[in-house]
């Protein structure tokens, strides 16, 4: 009997310790500040106390590189900003999702990329400060491109989860020296008319491939994905129907883009590289391709990969085959769980205001962060900007014109994964000779794995 009772006592104490431990584990997430959503806080900095704000970002969003953290420290000396960076936006999103699910570990400010903004809007709108009810932000709403505000808002427009940072109007970036070497026209005016349609672009590519003097091992365009992921958003619909539900098989954008991309792949005008792979990165400087679809942020990527010795060899053509569209761009949101909400709101408002967005585009270190604030985009400092690296191309005018004509089809929850499945299969068409029909079926079955 003694043994038995002592055994149960041991069991009780074990249970007690377990309970304490589990309380300790689950207790972390439950604390939350009750400051009113949209509270004006104290002064322009949101608080007068010494505060450290953590900002969760991915890739290179350029705030630090363009000196904005230092500039904000001048405005608000009591605020210190700490970046919490993840290189890949997909990894960042996984981490953010996990933290949203558990309600803990969130930064004071969280970057939201276009690839997952739909998920944040549909599933997590309540976990972010609603910018419609923040006095200053509601006032500056009219400054943003309407599509930018709309993408971060619920369908009824009542809730908006983030304020826009950059957008990604697209053109074509190309290697002037490689086109010249191949005996092809390389001045932007001629290219603008030759590349006004995808068919014209592909025909130009065929001539490049046929050239006797082109650099050996070089192809016209980096990948079929370059064509596909641009053209797909030129349709009335991309991956989703008008309600934002995934519908790949019946989309006009997918059908047209798949046609162009597979034509280019089968005509062998693509280098067959997977975008963002190490081989692709190296190809920016070794001349494996002459052109690629180029949203503004890609200019920064090219400079980073090709390096200073290629300055002046690259150029931006003032055209996107098939009409203006967008690739990428981000927002900044403030989780309601943030302990420094008022200060975080003040920071985001300051970052997305006209002056800072102009700075992001015009500073010498800029990585191609085109403003989503339309007043900033209209500023002469933005529209008049040229890029020394890209042969002094008038990038402000080129991308400004494209941004003003931009159309955006509905974006759904799984656009990123769906695009990945399709471009992976395009690589098979390019490098393994898979038939376009077979590749499309394979992509659809991979997409089925995502949509369930």
């Amino acid at each position: 009997m003694r043994l038995k009772s002592s055994g149960s006592r041991a069991g009780m104490s074990l249970l007690g310790v377990l309970t304490v431990a589990s309380l300790a584990i689950s207790g972390c997430g439950s604390s939350s500040s009750t400051a009113a959503n949209g509270g004006a806080g104290t002064g322009p900095c949101g608080t007068t106390a010494d505060t450290t704000l953590t900002v969760g970002l991915f890739g290179t969003m350029g705030f630090k590189e363009n000196g904005l953290w230092d500039a904000y420290h001048q405005v608000c000396p009591n605020i210190t900003i700490k970046e919490d960076d993840v290189e890949q936006s997909a990894d960042y999103w996984t981490r953010l999702k996990t933290r949203l699910a558990s309600g803990s570990g969130l930064d004071d400010v969280q970057g939201i990329e276009i690839g997952f903004v739909a998920d944040v809007v549909q599933n997590h709108a309540d976990q972010f400060v609603n910018w419609n009810s923040v006095p200053n932000a509601a006032a500056i709403k009219s400054e943003f491109f309407p599509f930018k505000w709309q993408l971060a808002s619920t369908t009824d427009g009542a809730k908006t989860v983030g304020l826009g940072t950059d957008t990604g109007p697209e053109a074509i970036c190309y290697r002037r020296d490689l086109l010249k070497k191949a005996g092809m026209p390389s001045d932007p005016k001629t290219l603008a008319s030759a590349w006004s349609t995808w068919n014209g672009f592909i025909d130009f590519g065929k001539q490049y491939e046929a050239s006797a003097t082109k650099q050996s091992g070089s192809h016209f365009v980096d990948s079929a994905a370059s064509i596909f992921s641009t053209a797909v958003y030129q349709g009335k619909n991309a991956y989703d129907d008008d309600q934002g539900q995934p519908d790949v098989a019946n989309s006009d954008g997918v059908k047209a883009a798949w046609g162009y991309a597979t034509t280019a792949a089968q005509a062998k005008i693509t280098a067959g590289l997977e975008q963002f792979s190490p081989t692709w990165n190296k190809a920016f400087s070794n001349g494996a391709f002459a052109a690629l679809a180029c949203p503004t942020w890609m200019m920064g990527y090219i400079q980073g990969q090709a390096g200073d010795s290629y300055a002046g060899k690259w150029e931006v053509a003032p055209v996107l085959p098939g009409g203006a569209t967008n690739w990428g761009g981000s927002w900044l949101g403030v989780p309601t769980a943030s302990k420094n909400k008022a200060a975080a709101i003040a920071l985001v408002e300051w970052l997305s205001a006209k002056k800072q967005q102009v700075t992001m585009w015009t500073s010498p270190n800029q990585g191609g962060h085109f403003p989503s604030n339309s007043e900033a985009a209209a500023d002469p400092a933005v529209s008049g900007a040229t890029s020394a690296y890209f042969s002094n191309a008038p990038v402000g005018k080129i991308f400004g014109d494209i941004a003003s004509q931009m159309k955006i089809p509905p974006i759904g929850l799984y656009d990123t994964q769906i695009q990945q499945a399709l471009t992976t299969q395009l690589t098979n068409v390019e490098t393994k000779g898979t038939s376009p029909d077979q590749a499309f079926q394979d992509a659809l079955s991979a997409i089925k794995q995502v949509t369930g």
Binding site: T98, H124, Q417, T424, T427, Q449, V450, G452
Partner: protein
């Protein structure tokens, strides 16, 4: 079963009385016996929090339709995730890949480790240096190793294809084609783990009585015959241990194939080297389907268990057969 046998054992002692009481008294009388529970408690707490709880939670989640993004909306769907899994070509593809990559990495790995350990077991100059050197790949970070191998196996600019080209052999698509890609992934695994296993074998060999070798040498047995007739039988428990550990490792291959496709979880453009671990990761963290990923996790657990039991049964069968 255990309950029944316990009572069966207890019954006679309760009937006879005294021995049982004596046993109980002595158990209670040991001064440190209950303090012992406190000493081992931290292990059980950690084990409960980080092993048992996730394990049970995974089982629970696997019976629901759950997405990572909407984790708190869980719909009970019974065994539907498992049914999806077993009728899913991606699962069977990953299952086959896990098996083939496991075989072409584990077998050469263990054979080479055995040979290396045998060589290191002889008295030779700089023995300690070689013993440390053999462990270097294991100490290298997985990411660094994979990046280096990725460079070596690069289809366009890689050293391996360059060497093949140099000796007028056709170059190989080490990324896109199925078997070359699997061999390349297996090479990374073999490179990393051979030295580790060699050291375990070496430790096992040191426990073999050296006089056996001396006697064999006196009898004129060659080193090869010594290896076959003394080393291998003496190492049998060690070999079994490494086979079991390697089987578990092989069933969980993850990092190498992930990094081999630039951190994408699809295991190549056609899933040429997508393993079960990778598939599970893709389902949960890329495709957002936690329920399906949990079902995969549990299926993997059962597969590993079966593989280990099969290994043990095979070893026992061998022993029994030899004793006859």
């Amino acid at each position: 079963m255990t309950l029944a046998s316990d009572t069966a054992l207890d019954a006679p002692s309760a009937a006879s009385g005294t021995p049982a009481r004596r046993r109980r008294r002595s158990a209670g009388g040991l001064p440190g016996s209950r303090v012992g529970y406190v000493y081992v408690l931290p292990f059980f707490l950690v084990f409960a929090a980080f092993s048992v709880y996730p394990w049970l939670d995974t089982a629970w989640v696997s019976l629901h339709d759950v997405r990572l993004s909407t984790y708190h909306h869980q719909t009970w769907i019974g065994l539907a995730n498992y049914r999806d899994l077993f009728t899913n070509p991606y699962f069977w593809n990953a299952f086959r890949n896990t098996f083939t990559i496991g075989v072409i990495s584990t077998i050469p790995q263990l054979v080479m480790a055995l040979g290396i350990a045998h060589l290191l077991n002889y008295r030779l100059r700089g023995r300690t240096f070689f013993r440390v050197a053999i462990l270097m790949p294991y100490a290298t970070s997985l990411a660094a190793a994979t990046v280096i191998f990725l460079e070596l196996f690069d289809t366009r600019l890689g050293l391996v294809n360059w060497a093949l080209h140099l000796v007028h052999l056709p170059t190989v698509d080490w990324q896109g084609s199925k078997w070359p890609a699997q061999v390349a992934v297996s090479t990374i695994i073999t490179w990393r783990w051979t030295g580790y296993n060699a050291l375990i074998y070496l430790a096992g060999m040191q426990a073999i009585d050296p006089s056996l070798y001396d006697a064999a040498a006196v009898d004129g047995a060659s080193r090869w015959r010594q290896f076959v007739h003394i080393t291998i039988p003496g190492l049998r428990p060690t070999i079994l241990f490494t086979i079991v550990v390697s089987t578990i490792g092989a069933a969980q291959i993850f990092g190498e194939p992930l990094l081999y496709h630039n951190g994408k979880a699809d295991g190549g453009t056609q899933g040429q080297y997508q393993t079960l671990g990778l598939l599970m990761y893709q389902q949960g963290w890329v495709n957002d389907r936690l329920g399906l990923a949990s079902a995969t996790a549990w299926t993997m657990f059962v597969i590993i268990l079966l593989a280990v039991v099969a290994n043990l049964l095979f070893a026992r069968w061998r022993t029994v057969r030899e004793l006859r």
